[in-house]
């Protein structure tokens, strides 16, 4: 005999039709004779009816729209995420490539700009040696005869009218040192006590001053080499030789050619291409005795000053 407790445990499955045929018949037989279990089964079925009879709730009308708004945000966010992931690369790669090329170009430009002085500083030996060789030659030939280069005068002194003892050739060639050149320029631009000179000579001085100013301006502009190349030319006939030198300089292609008389000598100045210095000096040799030019000339255009001096002035 099955107890009510066992039957009560089977009632939910019985009401759901989930019992085996044997259990179903067992429960059905018991419920038919047991008022308590029958009442319990009825309550169970009513409960299920109440549950099944619950009305459906309508979702808020905005719910689907709200869900889809969020869904679309998510859908847009997905490619945006990948875009964000690769966007920096897509933009940065060309930018970085461009920046690299720019920096490389800048480095090359700076290297080229800095390299010549660096090279000059690194390999001064051959030029210096050649220059020193040139310097030693006249000293050796005139050993004991010619004194060394005089110390640069601290203050300008009046230059006598008569041809002064010109400095030795070695001193003239010592144009490699900018310091001595600067001193010479100072010396030349220093006020000279005005002797009783005619108007023409005064005009000549004014022209000299103008020329110096123009030359200084050019130096400042950096158009030509700052230091003029000095060539000393010993001639027998000063005036005609100076004219010839001036003509030769113009023929060579020089510009800003100026001639000036000073201290018993003539100076012809101008500017020309560096490559034309060599042929010019060779041609100067036809006019007189030209001193060699130092080999370490700067590239590009150079200023040249040819000092035409009488033979006895050397």
């Amino acid at each position: 005999m099955t107890s009510c407790k066992d039957i009560k445990a089977l009632l939910p499955a019985y009401s759901d039709g989930e019992l085996s045929e044997r259990d179903r018949q067992l429960v059905a037989g018991h419920v038919a004779v047991c008022a308590d279990c029958s009442s319990l089964l009825a309550d169970l079925r009513k409960t299920q009816l109440l549950l099944g009879g619950l009305e459906e709730v309508e979702p808020p009308p905005w719910l689907a729209q709200k869900i889809m708004a969020h869904v679309r945000d998510e859908a847009d966010k997905e490619p945006a995420f990948f875009k964000r992931l690769f966007y920096p690369l897509r933009v940065k790669i060309p930018i970085q490539a461009f920046a690299t090329v720019l920096i490389a170009g800048l480095i090359v430009y700076l290297y080229k700009g800095v390299n010549p002085p660096y090279e000059a500083a690194r390999t001064p030996a051959p030029d210096q040696a050649a220059y020193e060789k040139v310097q030693e030659k006249p000293e050796a030939s005139s050993a004991g005869k010619v004194p060394g280069p005089p110390p640069a005068p601290k203050s300008p002194e009046p230059v006598p009218e008569a041809a002064p003892p010109s400095p030795p050739a070695s001193a003239r060639l010592d144009v490699g040192t900018r310091q001595s050149e600067e001193k010479e320029l100072v010396l030349r631009s220093a006020p000279v006590p005005a002797p009783a000179v005619p108007d023409g000579a005064m005009r000549q001085r004014e022209m000299e001053e103008a020329h110096k100013q123009a030359f200084s301006a050019k130096r400042a502009a950096g158009l030509t080499a700052a230091t003029p190349v000095e060539v000393t030319l010993q001639v027998s006939d000063l005036k005609s030789a100076a004219r010839e030198v001036e003509d030769l300089l113009r023929e060579t292609g020089a510009w800003n050619v100026q001639r000036e008389s000073q201290d018993g000598s003539e100076s012809v100045t101008g500017e020309l291409q560096r490559e034309k210095i060599g042929p010019l000096v060779e041609q100067l040799d036809d006019i007189g005795d030209a001193m060699p030019v130092r080999p370490d000339l700067p590239p590009g255009n150079v200023a040249i000053r040819i000092r035409v001096v009488p033979n006895d002035a050397r």
């Binding site: 009879g53 709730v57 869900i67």
Partner: protein, 208 residues
């Protein structure tokens, strides 16, 4: 074995009326998902509402459930029907919300509505002493509110099977798939939930 599982999957996919829409969604078609939302939002809302009992909370829960489904739809392999998968997400979402709400109420102090665990592990809520007389609650409108209240007093795991089976009429197999629990567990929970609910309702409204 492997071939068999593939055949099962293919059968499930072919049987799933939403297969094409799901495939479109997996390719990122939001409009296809919109069709699915329109189709299933009401049932999903009702499942969640019967579990939660709060209309506004239910709306938020369903919204989160659909969003979660959209986010993970690419992982959906079609082992079950889409609707089964979606309702499972919905039930999980509701369960999580209820846990959060319970944690909040624990922080704020024990609520009188908090379920009490019985000897067999079923959670029920003791009826409040100051409840109105049962006769007044037998009005049609109030009756449904009372039933909902009694459902809410069930423990979550019992409530889930009861809602799915007795309110929404899912088969045992569907409930098994939705809740991801064995068949035997579905039945035992369901029968126990009915018993407890019957007692709860009788306690509320007297004779059923």
């Amino acid at each position: 074995m492997f071939e068999t599982s593939i055949k099962v999957d293919e059968t499930t996919q072919a049987a799933d009326e939403d297969h094409d829409l799901v495939t479109a969604c997996q390719k990122g078609d939001a409009d296809a998902f919109g069709v699915l939302v329109a189709k299933y939002q009401k049932k999903a809302f009702n499942i969640a509402f019967r579990m939660m009992g709060d209309y506004d909370e239910t709306a938020d829960t369903v919204q989160e459930a659909f969003l979660s489904a959209f986010r993970s739809i690419k992982k959906f392999r079609g082992e079950a029907k889409f609707s089964t998968w979606l309702y499972g997400i919905c039930v999980n979402q509701a369960r999580n919300r209820l846990k959060q709400a319970r944690r909040r109420s624990l922080h704020e102090g024990t609520s009188i509505d908090e379920p009490i665990e019985t000897e067999d592990g079923c959670h029920v809520l003791e009826p409040a002493d100051d409840d109105p007389p049962p006769d007044e609650q037998l009005r049609v409108k109030d009756l449904q509110g009372t039933v909902q209240e009694c459902i809410g007093r069930l423990g979550e795991e019992f409530r889930e099977v009861l809602v799915l089976r007795d309110i929404h009429g899912f088969s045992y197999e569907e409930i098994r798939d939705i809740l991801d629990i064995p068949d035997g567990t579905v039945k035992s929970r369901l029968f126990r939930a009915r018993d407890v609910l019957r007692d709860s309702l009788k306690g509320k409204i007297g004779d059923l």
